[in-house]
């Protein structure tokens, strides 16, 4: 069992990783990289199936255990199954006019199908409103959490003010009196926000970026060499 659950997976990881690295450096091996990439992409599509299956399993269990709120699990399952059904079978989708006799030949997400209807009138309003809600919470957080406790916090708040005002017409209203051609035009809020972004933000983000990249490169190396095996789960 150790071979199946440890040795072979580690071997697969190393080979797959080395293939990807080689394909970046040697044109001859680029085809290997292409195949590995294609296999990965197909697996990524299977991952959607796995995600759906997991959801099904989780909510079926919740219903069978009659846990609190199990009725909502029923709603999840019904929506999941109906979307899946109308999407996979392309219910109501218009066939491709070039091949009208093939039912499945039409566009999956084309407007007019039931699958499109689920997207347009359920998926779209729901997901976009969920994200829109964050505007309210960010306002509440601004009132409760942003405190000018020390110099660092003042810097953070000051920058936030410059960006918030400089990226709207408020900047023009507040500092529009500074002539655009004068020596102090850089102090106009809209120009100041550009300066802050291109100098201070770029410097800070670049350092974070280099740090993260070093971390990713070393973690990748550890994974390929079999030093980091955490992705294989416990027991090692």
């Amino acid at each position: 069992m150790q071979i199946l659950t440890r040795s072979i997976p580690l071997f697969i990881t190393a080979v797959a990783g080395i293939v990807m690295i080689l394909s970046a450096f040697f044109p001859y091996t680029s085809d290997w990289g292409k195949f590995a990439g294609q296999f990965f992409n197909i697996l990524a599509a299977f991952a959607f199936v796995l995600g759906g299956g997991n959801l099904l399993k989780l909510h079926l269990k919740k219903i069978s255990d009659q846990r609190p709120g199990w009725a909502y699990s029923g709603v999840v399952l019904v929506c999941f199954i109906v979307t899946l059904f109308v999407g996979l079978l392309k219910i109501g989708a218009y066939p491709n006019p070039t091949y009208p006799s093939v039912h499945f030949g039409g566009e999956t997400q084309g407007s007019g199908s039931m699958f499109w209807w689920f997207y347009e009138y359920a998926f779209k309003p729901l997901t976009s409103t969920m994200f829109a809600m964050l505007a309210f919470y960010v306002a509440s957080a601004a009132f409760r959490a942003f405190r000018a406790k020390n110099f660092e916090a003042i810097l953070l708040l000051g920058t936030a003010f410059v960006v918030l005002l400089g990226r709207t017409f408020a900047g023009v209203l507040a500092t529009g009196w500074i002539p655009p051609d004068s020596a102090f035009s850089g102090l106009r809020l809209e120009n100041l926000s550009v300066y802050v972004m291109q100098v201070f933000n770029t410097a800070g983000t670049r350092a974070i970026m280099i740090g993260i990249a070093l971390g990713i490169a070393s973690t990748s190396m550890k994974i390929l060499l079999g030093i980091d095996r955490s992705f294989l789960g416990s027991g090692d």
Binding site: P9, T13, A24, F39, N41, I42, A44, A45, F46, V49, L50, G51, L55, Y72, V75, V76, F80, V82, P95, T98, Y99, P100, S101, V102, G105, W117, Y121, A122, F123, P125, L126, M130, F131, L134, A135, V138, R144, L155, G158, T159, A160, V163, L164, R167, Y195, F200, N201, G204, R206, A207, I208, I210, G211, A213, A217, T219, S220, M221, L224, L232
Partner: protein, 370 residues
């Protein structure tokens, strides 16, 4: 400081909230009875009629191919009255049209544009879902929970369907089962010579790995998914290692090794030239100092004392400015998303505003309301 939204409210506060909710309800009800009403979707039917054209091979009379020809409704009716519905295919496509097209049609005395009940119901459902999610701002409630459950179910189903039709079918099934795919799934594909390309057998590998991945769902078969997982992790590690080193380490380091003196662009006067040169050069100097100071701050192997400590402190200042900027931009993004939802409610559903000129006929009457 009180921060809980579920904290009991005073009767006065309750009254205000009741007034707010009631006002929204009144606006919706009143709005639906004023002028041309609200929240309707119109469509124009487009008949798609096809008749079969059977071509018999000149060499072998038993071999024939069927092709489909799109015909006009008149031609189709003539064909059907002569031959019946065999060898015909027809369906109706519905193109959504702006309500003003319907109003114009009504004013002109009739036409083909009709109210779409499925889409109109959908629109009201979308408005209900939007309000149901927003209702969470007041407090958690069954409407919100219902909407939340719908989004989870629909999203999972949506991704699975798209993954199947957009990736598994064209990139896997077309290669492993070309004839079946062409006949039933993707008629537009070209068959390889002989109907099958043996080199595509290599795609059995992702098929097997994919099945193993899904095998995780079966009890006691969890280990099966370790192989595809190993493949996913390995390819990702290999790809990212090269990508990040090349882009985020080498290129970004190179971008930081820059001239510290930059000639200013403003040449309107000598003073402005010197001034703009100072600003531009200062930007470069501050940039280089910032990157180095932040990197020193991230360098935890050395104790942050003395010169290192001071440099690290400068690094913290830069990082604080970075986080402040990130906060400002995040706020900006969130508000735009909220604005889009409010636009949906006011424009598509309530017909209060008409920025896309979809309902020109009623915009004037709505304007009178305000």
């Amino acid at each position: 400081m009180s921060s809980s939204a579920s904290e009991p409210m005073t009767p006065a506060q309750r009254a205000i909230w009741a007034i707010v909710c009631l006002s929204i309800l009144v606006i919706v009800v009143v709005r639906s009875f004023i002028g041309d009403g609200m929240g309707r979707v119109y469509v124009e039917p487009k008949p798609m009629d096809f008749v079969a054209e059977v071509t018999t091979s000149t060499e072998n009379a038993s071999e024939s191919t069927t092709s489909w020809k799109q015909v006009s409704t008149v031609e189709f009716d003539a064909y059907v009255s002569a031959n019946g519905y065999t060898n015909t295919i027809s369906w109706t496509e519905y193109d959504q049209v702006p309500p003003r097209a319907y109003f114009a049609q009504e004013a002109a005395g009739g036409g083909s544009i009709v109210l779409s009940w499925p889409r109109t119901i959908g629109l009201w459902l979308a408005a209900f879902f939007t309000l149901a999610i927003f209702s969470f701002l007041y407090r958690d409630n069954p409407f919100y929970k219902f909407a939340e459950s719908v989004v989870v179910g629909v999203s999972a189903g949506y991704w699975m369907v798209v993954g199947f039709w957009d990736t598994i079918v064209p990139n896997l099934l077309q290669r492993l089962m070309p004839v079946f795919s062409k006949d039933y799934l993707t008629p537009g594909m070209e068959l390889p010579p002989g109907g099958f390309d043996p080199t595509n057998l290599v795609f059995l590998i992702p098929l097997v790995l994919g099945i193993m991945l899904v095998g995780r769902l079966l009890p006691k078969c969890g280990w099966l998914s370790l192989w595809p997982l190993a493949f996913i992790v390995g390819t990702m590690a290999g790809l990212r290692m090269v990508g990040y080193i090349e882009s985020d380490i080498l290129s970004q380091t190179k971008e930081t090794v820059i001239p510290l003196y930059v000639q200013g662009e403003n040449t309107s006067s000598n003073f402005m030239m010197i001034w703009s040169t100072i600003w531009a050069s200062l930007a470069q100097i501050l940039l280089v100092i910032g990157v180095l100071a932040c990197l020193v701050y991230f360098f935890f192997s050395v104790e942050h004392k003395g010169a290192v400590g001071k440099t690290a402190r400068v690094g913290i200042w830069y990082l604080m400015i970075t986080f402040g900027a990130a906060f400002g931009f995040t706020v900006m993004g969130r508000i735009a998303l909220l604005a889009a939802r409010v636009e949906f409610l006011f424009d598509d559903w309530m017909w209060l505003i008409d920025p896309m000129q979809q309902r020109e006929f009623i915009s004037a009457s709505v304007g009178l309301l305000f």
